[in-house]
């Protein structure tokens, strides 16, 4: 992915370089590619130049310039058509030069096509199967209209966490500081680990980390403090996951989808809902795990447990 973007940046500068003479010196440019250089040719040289400069800017500015890369492919096709027409008619004053230009355009078309395809491929995950999966760290904060004591007590019972943390299947408290965690992995499988509390300051902070032998090495903490003006409690959650190499790691990387930070923020919103109103809020659409229009569900059976959990 990063390489495709790098190539796109190069193509961006290339576009600029190609576009400028077409705009600034259309006469010389048309001579260079061996066509007559009459008013018609110069007009086209100008059009192509402007197009190249715009495509160049797009390729250089956009974080993932998929459309601009494809616009270059389209531009190449247009150029091939123009040059081809020039060659086959009597437009070409020096046909060998025009043929060279045509060959050059054909070459760059392949590069553009390669880059466009590479950019169009879905980012992350898929291509990483056997490589080291990057560690993930997310920090998120939310304010809750409850006292620090209430927030601390609820969080301290780790068995409550799966009620609002979407990636967790279950947590079982197994000892004074020990717990056993199961997280959802793709295709209905789970990954598991044991964890221990490594810091526990009542009403202020809880920190935990996985023990040796975990499917996924991870750690987390929640910092709790009163919000200013007596407006409840601020919490800051800090989670780190370090998935192992190989297929398990790739599966774990998918746990949080493409936007881990957004998913943890949604988890905290659900935590706030449970603390403030006693249950997770659902709409007619979000009641379903898959996309559903905003209309009443067919049945409530399958999710009854989740809503009441």
């Amino acid at each position: 992915m990063a390489k495709a973007v790098q190539l796109a940046r190069f193509l961006g500068w290339f576009s600029f370089g190609l576009g400028l003479p077409g705009v600034a010196a259309p006469k010389q440019f048309t001579q260079f590619i061996g066509v007559k250089g009459d008013l018609e040719d110069r007009k086209w040289s100008y059009v192509v130049g402007v197009r190249e400069i715009i495509a160049g800017a797009g390729l250089l500015i956009q974080p993932r310039p998929v459309i601009w890369a494809w616009s270059r492919v389209a531009g190449d096709v247009m150029d091939i058509a123009l040059l081809g027409r020039a060659l086959s008619s009597k437009k070409a004053k020096k046909p060998d030069r025009t043929a060279m230009a045509l060959a050059a355009v054909a070459g760059i078309t392949l590069v553009d096509l390669y880059d466009s395809l590479a950019l169009s491929r879905k980012p992350a995950g898929a291509s990483k199967k056997n490589k080291e999966v990057e560690a993930m760290q997310v920090k998120k904060a939310i304010t809750i209209s409850r006292s620090p004591e209430e927030v601390y007590q609820f969080w301290h019972n780790f068995e409550n966490l799966p009620r609002f943390m979407q990636h967790l299947h279950s947590v079982q408290v197994t000892g004074d500081k020990k717990s056993h965690w199961k997280a959802k992995a793709p295709a209905g499988t789970t990954v598991e680990w044991d964890a221990e509390i490594i810091m526990d300051t009542p009403n202020e902070r809880i920190a935990w980390r996985s023990l040796e032998g975990a499917d996924v090495e991870n750690s987390g903490s929640v910092t709790i403090k009163p919000a200013p003006g007596g407006m409840g409690t601020e919490i800051l959650v800090d989670l780190s996951y370090k998935p192992p190499a190989g297929p398990i790691g790739a599966a774990v990387a998918k746990l949080f989808g493409e936007e881990p930070s957004q998913q943890i923020q949604q988890d905290l919103r659900r935590f706030k809902q449970i603390m403030e109103i006693g249950e997770v809020v659902v709409s007619d659409a979000t009641f379903h795990e898959r996309p559903h229009p905003a209309r009443p569900p067919e049945t409530t059976a399958n999710k009854e447990t989740k809503a009441k959990k």
């Binding site: 304010t143 209209s145 407006m231 409840g232 957004q262 923020q265 949604q266 919103r269 706030k272 809902q273 403030e276 109103i277 006693g278 249950e279 809020v281 659902v282 709409s283 007619d284 659409a285 979000t286 009641f287 996309p291 559903h292 229009p293 905003a294 209309r295 009443p296 569900p297 067919e298 409530t300 809503a307």
Partner: protein
């Protein structure tokens, strides 16, 4: 079903999904001007099959286990924003900013930085709640939103407590009206009519309504008591200057929003930019209000905006010390006092009603309302 395509379909009956839910059998619902923004495709995250409608009333038929203030058989008007009543925003009576009622808060936050409250039938970004243009609807937080109304008072007198009466009133209240004030209201649709009427209730000396449809201007003059300007006939700023001794109105209300029209070049410019997605909203009314308002005056925005605008004259706002007040209306705050106003006889909200139709005729109702056919003002739908 798609842009400019609404259909009437059979769907399953709504069910209690949370312990504080109520199911309401709808007796009257409406098409709101802001439904037209959905209809015209200007609010993102609508899906095929979504049920619209956020202005409705009816009878409670089922209650979740934790609802305390309502009982089956109660006659209620339901406010359009959904609010939990417990979060810090609700505690400050900023109900339309409820922190808990939008389960799709992450989508709204991606567009707007933070999320406002969920709204019935108003896109997935605003929660994905089924709306009230139906026979039954699920109402979350039934102890917080719905207000009981006495039997014997007809639906059309209290129905608009759900949205447009509080919305017009909130717009006028945001003008901070003082005795002697002149208020100008852009847009003489139903919300504009209530903004005019509310400005008078709050003590404005003169209210000027601005529109291009003669029947709506006539409505504003005859039923709401406004002076009027037809913006297709005269220049609005010049006319306002003439009418206010050159000062400009003390406060300006935008009761139009993101689909504003303008004659000539400016209108075409913003339509074109919107069409190619260079801006999402047409800020024609906003610009005109900013240039027209008196120095140090107030701009109150009731019309709905969804995204981004262009060529916003911030220089005029800053140098002339204009105040901008806006927001989706925290309807829950206004229902009780405005119901009292209705019962006192200060106002009869029924003055905006132009048509009664059956819910089955909703597609035709949308067409009439969007095209301003048959002098459509406010359309009530009966399931």
């Amino acid at each position: 079903m798609g842009k400019k395509d609404v259909k009437v379909e059979e769907v399953p009956d709504p069910k209690i999904l949370m312990r504080q839910d109520a199911i309401v059998r709808i007796t009257s619902t409406t098409i709101c001007g802001s439904d037209l923004h959905l209809y015209d495709g200007f609010i993102p995250t609508m899906e095929k099959g979504d049920i619209l409608g956020h202005e409705f009333m009816g009878e409670v038929v089922e209650l979740g286990s934790e609802v305390k203030n309502l009982k089956v058989g109660d006659r209620v008007v339901v406010p359009f924003p959904i609010a939990c009543g417990r979060c810090s925003m609700c505690q400050r009576t900023l109900f339309s900013l409820c922190e808990n009622s939008n389960p799709n808060a992450h989508i709204a936050a991606a567009l707007m930085g933070h999320s406002p409250a969920g709204i019935f039938g108003y896109s997935h970004m605003m929660g994905g709640y089924a709306g009230g243009q139906s026979q039954y609807v699920r109402v979350p937080f039934a102890d917080v939103g719905p207000i009981k109304v006495p039997d014997g008072i007809p639906d059309e007198k209290v129905l608009f407590l759900s949205d447009i009466f509080p919305t017009g009133y909130y717009a006028a209240e945001n003008c901070n009206i003082k005795p002697g004030d002149v208020v100008a209201v852009w847009g003489c649709g139903p919300v504009g009519q209530f903004a005019i009427a509310s400005a008078y209730l709050l003590g404005a000396e003169r209210v000027i309504g601005i529109d291009r449809f003669e029947y709506r201007l006539r409505w504003a003059r005859e039923k709401a008591g406004a002076e009027t300007i037809n913006y297709e006939e005269v220049d609005v700023k010049e006319t306002l200057d003439e009418m206010t001794g050159g000062r400009g109105p003390d406060a300006c209300i935008d009761a139009v929003g993101l689909e504003a029209h303008a004659p000539g070049f400016v209108g075409a410019y913003d339509r074109a930019k919107q069409a190619v997605k260079l801006e999402t909203d047409r800020p024609i009314v906003l610009r005109e209000m900013i240039m027209s308002c008196r120095n140090g005056g107030t701009l109150s925005i009731a019309g709905v905006y969804g995204g981004f605008i262009d060529k916003f004259p911030i220089g005029a706002v800053m140098n002339r010390a204009l105040t901008i007040k806006t927001g989706q209306t925290p309807v829950q705050r206004y229902m009780q006092p405005l119901l009292q106003r209705i019962l006192n006889g200060d106002i009869d909200p029924g003055f905006v009603v132009s048509h009664h139709m059956s819910l089955d005729e909703a597609p035709r109702g949308y067409e009439m309302f969007v095209n301003k056919e048959n002098e459509a003002m406010k359309i009530i739908l009966k399931p």
